[in-house]
Amino acid sequence: MKLIKSFFSVLFSALLLFSTTTVNSIAIEKLHFVIGGGAGGGWDGTARGTGEALTKAGFLKSASFENMSGGGGGKALAYMINTKPENTILVQSTPLVLRSITRHKGYVSGNGTLSYKDVVPIAGVIGDYGAIAVAKDSPYKNFQDVVDAYKANPSSIKMAGGSVRGSMDHLIGALAFQAAGANPNDVAYIPYDAGGKALAGLLSGETQIISTGLGELMGARDQVRIIGITAPERVADAPDAPTLKEQGYDVQFVNWRGFFGPPGMSNKDKKAIAKMLGDVQKTPEWEEVRARNAWVNIYNPDKKFVKFLKTQTKEMTALMKKLGVI
């Protein structure tokens, strides 16, 4: 009975919370999470997981969630900017930066492309590092082997990824090849429409390497050999995966996920929410959610977050120009 009850309560809160918009008074009494994608996606998991940890740990009295799909998250972003809802935060991730660069598919509003500057960056909370992997039976043992094979015969290396050209998956691989002194635009990138399909492509032998998020590879760890991750140092969840940095390639990239407030959010509210998001990461309630989702904590609040977004925009713009996608 408990199961049925909780199932229905989850289901109905998903359906009904759509109507809860007007909230006032104390900053962290109530918080409404706007999610630019459907249930079961990455943004959805981040928002619901964070909300769960915050309420269980007692930082937040009540959290509500609202899924608002459309335009790859653009709909939700436009909603935040146009209606400036109170006590409401938006979950976003690296595509916010990438889409502000590629104008033709950016989050467009009337007279320009929307970027992180149009909302109030509160804090980055978790991240997923990029990873390059080969099939377990591949002759390539490390990234150097791949680079050598590529330099000997560029068409011998085909790189699979779980999304379109110019997407995060493509950029991760391009960054690595760029650091190895190759022209990233010459590396054949083979796009698939999901990380799982790209993995199947790698294991079926039609591509030689895969470039995607580390999280995407965790399920297939027995079938692939991770030959380089874009983290500054090895991560606890995959201790046998070497970093690109330790192999002499200066590549660092993190697909962050974080929260943004509506334009005009007061400094006091922003600071309070940012602090709460940082404090919660020290609690066992958060640890439970984190471990279950294999997230990597990268708490990055306020001004630091803005600076990071600025740098990432600059780096990615340069790379995407090289790749000819903008």
Binding site: I4, V10, G72, E206
Partner: protein, 500 residues
């Protein structure tokens, strides 16, 4: 293996796990019946609850919801022409006409028995072949998928008989055009979005199905309410609830079920296909294999035409557990969510799963047998009552269908635009229906077209722009030759028929 089966059996037969199978099947059936709300959303929302259980129990519950939804989805396909899940779209091709002929109970019973047989047979395939099946999962490359989609398109022949050829082809083109809306899946160019942000993600399959099937069907009924021929079609409802399948029909099912379960299962094992493709392919193949007089009945309430996709989608559903459990590769959104949950439990999928967690692997397969029996027990006795839905006066039934279509689409995306888009497509589809344009070719082209284009362009990328991929691999050649043979066979049959 015997040892594994025993471990699985002892795990699956605990009181708690049987209870979970029941809960999963029950909710799955309901979720499946409701248009729009799919197993993926349901499982995603359930995950927080499952963390209270041990991994095997959690997975058994999630699997139950998944195959329960595919099982239950056929009900709304047959009764209302409103497929509850994408995998049961093909079920409505023959199931809905059959229900319209007053044989709703029979159609539901055929669907239930076919689902049961498809699910059970594929669980047997899983049991005996799972370790080697992971190789099958990886045997298909992009050119092979491309060839498979071409093969799938031959199923359109089923709707292009009796001078309908040109109309069917026009609907195919319309379907292909709708499929190309949105960000293209290889480069990052948006196509036909008219700078409307709501279209950048493309048009969802469920939306197109709901608009062209359920909604436009309802609108057509409203428009034709004064039509005397429609009134004449109001058959006696006495037979509505009867679930008796006669000997002849049973004979047809005995032939259809084994072959459709094999096709469905194998397509389900492929990470790049899935239950929807499996049901379409099984439907098309079945039409190629039956006798001529039965062929004529396809699309008008054929027993084979209903049984084939219903068997295949359930078989594919079990098949999709192969790449997820033995390779850690999710083939669909639903299996991706389940894989995420599995990792959250600290379970590492892969070839070693048999060794490291035998209780999980085998108990899930064992729970499938139990689940299939439960679904059958749950569904069969209810059929006479559910079928009576059709006895509800049209002026109550039609608003209900429209209500469920609209709310179903809304809870999928929470985006108002999707509602307007659906109504727009439904209105256009209604006009097309009034001029006798068949809808299934549009749906078929919509599903297969996107995948066909994606795999074709990927194949070209992989072969550096050369068309050699068409004959480079034996598998590709085999599938393409089969396709050509089917087409030639149809042409030959048509020509000889004309002479006589």
């Amino acid at each position: 293996m015997i040892e594994g089966i025993l471990i699985g059996l002892t795990t699956a037969l605990t009181f708690q796990n049987i209870f979970m199978v029941m809960i999963g099947c029950f909710f799955g059936t309901i979720i499946g019946m409701l248009p729009g709300l799919g197993p993926m959303t349901a499982i995603a929302l359930m995950i927080p609850i499952t963390y209270g259980f041990d991994p095997a129990t959690g997975l058994i519950l999630m699997a139950g919801v998944y195959y329960g939804a595919v099982f239950g989805g056929s009900t709304s396909s047959i009764l209302l022409n409103a497929p509850g899940v994408p995998g049961t779209v093909a079920t409505s091709f023959d199931g809905y006409p059959m229900a319209q002929q007053g044989k709703a109970g029979k159609a539901l019973a055929i669907a239930a028995w076919s689902s049961f047989a498809g699910g059970t047979l594929s669980a047997i395939y899983l049991l005996f072949m799972a370790p080697s099946l992971s190789k099958v999962s990886l045997s298909f490359r992009s050119p092979d998928y491309f060839a498979l989609m071409i093969l799938g398109l031959t199923a359109i022949a089923a709707f292009s008989s009796k001078g309908q050829f040109l109309k069917a082809m026009m609907m195919v083109v319309l379907g292909l055009m709708l499929a190309s809306v949105g960000q293209d899946s290889l480069s990052d160019i948006t196509r036909f979005t008219f700078n409307n942000m709501n279209l950048t993600d493309g048009i969802s399959f469920v939306l197109v199905v709901m608009a062209t099937f359920a909604m436009s069907e309802a609108l057509t009924i409203i428009l034709k309410r004064n039509d005397p021929t429609a009134a004449a079609k109001q058959v006696s409802l006495t037979e509505l609830g009867s679930i008796k399948i006669n000997k002849e029909e049973r004979g047809k099912m005995y032939k259809t079920i084994p072959r459709s379960s094999v096709i469905g299962f194998l397509i389900g094992v492929l990470p790049g296909a899935g239950a929807t493709i499996a049901s379409f392919l099984a439907y098309g193949m079945e039409r190629n294999l039956v006798k001529d007089e039965e062929k004529e009945k396809f699309g008008k309430g054929s027993v084979n035409g209903l049984s084939a996709p219903e068997t295949a989608n359930n078989a594919a559903c079990s098949g999709s557990f192969v790449p997820m459990l033995t390779l850690g590769i999710p083939g669909s959104g639903t299996t991706a969510v389940m894989l995420g949950a599995l990792l959250g439990f600290g379970i590492q999928p892969g070839p070693r799963l048999y060794m490291t967690n035998p209780e999980i692997f085998w108990s899930v397969i064992m729970s499938m047998y139990i689940g299939m029996v439960i679904l059958l027990i749950l569904n069969l006795p209810l059929i006479p009552y559910i079928a009576r839905i059709l006895a509800v006066p049209k002026n109550y039934l039609i608003p209900l269908i429209l209500f469920f279509s609209i709310t179903g689409i809304y809870v999928m995306s929470f985006n108002n635009f999707d509602i307007y888009l659906m109504i727009g497509i439904a209105v256009v589809a209604t006009f097309l229906r009034l001029y006798d344009f068949p809808m299934p070719p549009l749906i078929l082209a919509f599903v297969l077209g996107g995948l066909m284009e994606e795999n074709l362009r990927r194949s070209l990328l992989l072969s550096n722009g050369s068309w050699e991929f068409l004959w480079d691999r034996t598998l590709t050649v085999c599938i393409l030759v089969t396709t050509i043979l089917i087409v030639l066979w149809h042409i030959y049959k048509t020509l000889t028929k004309k002479k006589s």
